[in-house]
Amino acid sequence: MHFDLSVPAQLSAALAPDLVLSVGAMLLLLFAAWKAESEQRARAVGVLSIWLCVITAAIIIWMAVSGASADGGVIAVDNFRWAIDLVILLSTIIALALALDYARTEQLVTAEMYVLVLLSSAGMMLLAAARDLIMVFLAIELMSIAVYVLAGLNRRSSRSAEAALKYFLLGAFSTGFLLYGIALVYGATGTTNLSAIGSHVTEASFSGAPMLLVGIGLLVVGFGFKVALVPFHMWAPDVYEGAPTPITAYMAVAVKAAAFAAFLRVWHEAFPGASGAWLPVLWWLAVITMVVGNIIALAQRNMKRMLAYSSIAHAGYLLVAIVANRYTNAGASSLVFYLVAYTLATMGAFAVVIAVDEPGERRQNLNDYSGLWWERPWASLAMAIFMLSLLGFPIAGGMGFFAKWYILRAAIGSSHPQVSLAVILVIASVISAGYYLAVIIYMFMRPRAAQPVERRPLGLGTSLVIGVSAAALLIFGIFPAGFVGLTSRSQPTVQTAAQASPPIAAAHRQ
């Protein structure tokens, strides 16, 4: 089906999944507030939220299969959007399942947690669709404000409050950069529509326009904050450590996925003409993010903090896909594939962290994982798979290898081969072996703690998440063909009619 986005009814139809999710979230909020807060009611909201996500996902799949499309307008209707939406919903469902168990062990009775997650996800889906800088800004705000609250959700924990405040202040600060960047770009081009900007920004027009240059620079900073690129990453470790664990997982995965989707769209639809200016910047940002993220992660002893730095390093890998996408379409597909593998592995790892943890988040140190193999053999095995997957190890790490492989392939296979970037990526992942393997060493090769802790029964949600993520990683790691086929079709559509930039090379395509 084809949408004409200038007609309000058709615009709403094109936004159907986003609308279903938002309206559903509002209804759930009403449902939660209708009677006095109780544990059953909060759980019911949580379970219903998962179903709402499933319904939304079904609508998205239906729209994707029916080949929905649109031209121009403020939102995109293309496979890239659907793919990112599905990644976001997958991580939302996992985070909600984990949150249900987490709320029980931590005795948190807050139905709002689930609703806020849903609202934030609605913002992310909008972000994945946005094709107008105003939309980008609105979506980022919708996403971020909900996450600020979520980070501070555990009222009894001072670290949680600290995390929320830090995230809020720095997030608001970065939004300022973003907004100012948007304003300057608007000033230079007279429009906020991405494709319209794209047709204005050419090498020629760009050389004499410092306003545009500054605008693009500020946008880099704004996005850099959201996806936690070095040197804009300072907030991430503290926030990730302090926030409730399911929310940390959600931030590490979903926020990153949505922000990267917008990153890719904005850069490759609006600014291909100015790539001479931003490509070297992103190139260097990717290099420092990969190297610094991995090196600092080596020194971490707290699992959540370590995973925070690991997610920073992964942002660097994803940035390689963005840089590569300048010259080859494989960049976008590799981004989607990578995000799926990263979602499963990171979510699984956080699920194990929740499984091992004690009430009050007291058991998160690497030392607490000593001899975990004797305490929880299957969870340790799954954790080993997640760690190897994040490391990008073949077969045993499942999809993680093909994810890295896909990005390497995009980088080396573009018309301007980024071989040095690929080599740096590879060396960075060798560094990352230091801390991913450390987890395995502690779990399998160190003796058990002197006083074994009592084995807490695992919640259904957590065990399902661990089992299903590990199994999915392994299966798609051996038979990736189907997934590769799906992701290679999830390209963003670029609407600029007259693209003044050098044409995207068609030389190396499968």
Binding site: F401, M445, A481, G485
Partner: protein
């Protein structure tokens, strides 16, 4: 025999079966472990080792058919099986053997049951996981030797790292964690750069008519068009991966740690099979794919120098080791130097010799590690000083240690002689000076091993702890008997083995030399420069 094999369509299923059989065994153990409610100690789970042993024996029997079904008159891929795997990227599940990989596969299936017997009583904790890892490891190792698709090869190359990492790290000696992580990171650094090389090669592997990209070894060999400058870098990436695995001096530092800290079976597999993957990689990939780069005079000479330095350095360091296991570990550096010398001398005899050394080193060093494991189980020390005169209490052990040491030194009528002699003979034609230094390595090998066994089994029996050591039991005698038979058989009658590797070795030499000639004569060669 051949008729029987043909009647069951042996060549059509043997190679996939060799990859699947160990996985089935691992699955059985995994199911056992999921059902069991115990902690997996040897007392609680003795059946796991039986499952492993039976699986490996089945694997051995199945693989032995290759000996007869293999056609020595052909240098083409045999028993080949090829099916689609990831069509979008042109990756296939493509396996086959030639005269080079045949013996590596047989060596693997031969050593694995012995490794199980070698850990029969010495592995006491988490028995199920241990044997399951050994089975998975076998699939990886055989896969490396069989893969004819570069992506499949890479996956197999990496996958065997994990089980070995766990085997060293969980069941190893005191410094096992350090040794295992060093082993892992060294190997991974090398292989990831090779991965970048593989992707680059794949991007330039397009079929000239259809433009279809592929990881197929044959297609890349035929059509890969890279500039000679890129070929140099690519060779460097492959070289690093393989040189670390071999290990060549100066990339060998992971080896003494890993070999010493690994449990007995781990050392046997590491030395016996996994080191051969490095040299196999040179034979199969690094040289045939980039002959021009590999035979650039300065590169070739550098590698030959490193090989000879490895021979001498390994031998000299082995001589001063107080730890017998470390001594054997360093002797591997020395032996593998011979293999590299043989490969890069590039004559038929030297390459055949290199292949023979690869087989012999697997048998002799595997046997040495098993023998060390036996006395370690009895005395819990590997220090040479702690023994002395134990020939009196362990006569069978002494006899077998002497025989195995002779074979490792390369005494005529043992297998060691055949390989090293062929390497030196073949290399002398092209590289006389390097051979001169290599020969000194043979003498040094006699020094360090004879000196060590003198101090262990002869001298006076002056340590009271050693007076009551029991001699080898039936299980140990069985293991060593099989190995001794192999040592003598190859030493006396190597012709059937040489016959089977001759065509492939000759083909390899020819391929590399014509390839190098073609790439050194620009515009005339078949290789297109982009």
């Amino acid at each position: 025999m051949q008729d029987f094999l043909t009647s069951i369509n042996y060549n059509g299923w043997v190679l996939p079966a060799l990859l699947i059989i160990p996985l089935v065994g691992a699955l059985v153990i995994l199911i056992q472990s999921a059902l069991a409610r115990d902690d997996g100690t040897l007392a609680a789970a003795p059946s796991a080792r039986w499952v492993a042993l039976i699986t490996f024996l089945v694997e051995l029997v199945v693989s032995l058919g290759l000996w007869w079904s293999f056609d020595p008159g052909s240098s083409a891929w045999q028993a080949r099986v090829s099916t689609a795997w990831i069509p979008q990227w042109g990756a296939r599940f493509d396996v086959g053997v030639d005269g080079i990989s045949l013996f590596m596969v047989l060596l693997t299936t031969f050593l694995m049951p012995l490794s199980v017997l070698g850990s029969w009583t010495s592995v006491k904790t988490k028995v199920r996981s241990y044997y399951a890892l050994m089975l998975i490891l076998t699939t990886g190792m055989i896969g490396v030797f069989l893969a004819l698709d570069l992506l499949l090869f890479y996956l197999m190359w990496e996958i065997m790292l994990i089980p070995m990492y766990f085997i060293i790290g969980v069941w190893g000696g005191e410094r096992r964690i350090y040794a295992s992580i060093k082993f892992f990171i060294y190997t991974m650094l090398g292989s990831l750069l090779m991965l970048v090389g593989i992707i680059y090669l794949w991007m330039h592997s397009g079929d000239p008519f259809t433009g279809q990209l592929s990881f197929s070894y044959d297609q890349i060999l035929q059509h890969a068009a890279v500039s000679s400058r890129a070929a140099l870098w690519l060779f460097g990436a492959f070289f690093l991966a393989f040189a670390i695995k071999v290990p060549m001096f100066p990339f060998h530092t992971w080896l003494p740690d890993a070999h010493t800290e690994a449990p007995t079976a781990g050392s046997v597999i590491l030395a016996g099979i996994m080191l051969k993957m490095g040299t196999y990689g040179f034979l199969r990939f690094a040289l045939p794919l980039f002959p021009g780069a590999a035979l650039t005079p300065w590169i070739r000479n550098l590698i030959l120098i490193l090989a000879v330095v490895g021979i001498l350095y390994g031998a000299l360091v082995a001589m001063v080791q107080p730890d017998f296991k470390k001594l054997v570990a360093y002797s591997s550096v020395s032996h593998l130097g011979f293999v590299m010398l043989g490969i890069f001398s590039l004559t038929l005899q030297s390459v055949q010799g290199a292949l023979m050394v690869m087989i012999n080193h697997g048998i002799s060093t595997g046997a040495l590690f098993l023998l060390i494991g036996m006395i370690y189980e009895r005395r819990h020390t590997r220090m040479i000083d702690a023994y002395g005169g134990i020939a009196r209490v362990m006569p069978m052990f002494a006899a077998l240690l002497t025989l195995v040491s002779m074979s490792s030194i390369g005494l005529p009528a043992t297998n060691g002689f055949v390989g090293e002699f062929l390497v030196l003979l073949g290399s002398f034609k092209t590289q006389p000076w390097f051979v001169l230094f290599g020969t000194i390595g043979v003498i040094l090998a006699a020094c360090y091993l004879l000196w060590a066994i003198k101090r262990i089994i002869y001298h006076r029996l002056d340590k009271p702890e050693n007076e009551h050591l029991s001699d080898l039991n039936r299980r140990e005698l069985l293991m060593m008997g099989v190995l001794a038979a192999a040592i003598l058989w190859i030493g006396i009658y190597p012709a059937p083995i040489l016959k089977r590797m001759e065509r492939s070795a000759g083909n390899f030499v020819e391929q590399v030399q014509t390839g190098a000639a073609a790439s050194n004569a620009p515009r005339l060669g078949m290789r297109r420069a982009r």
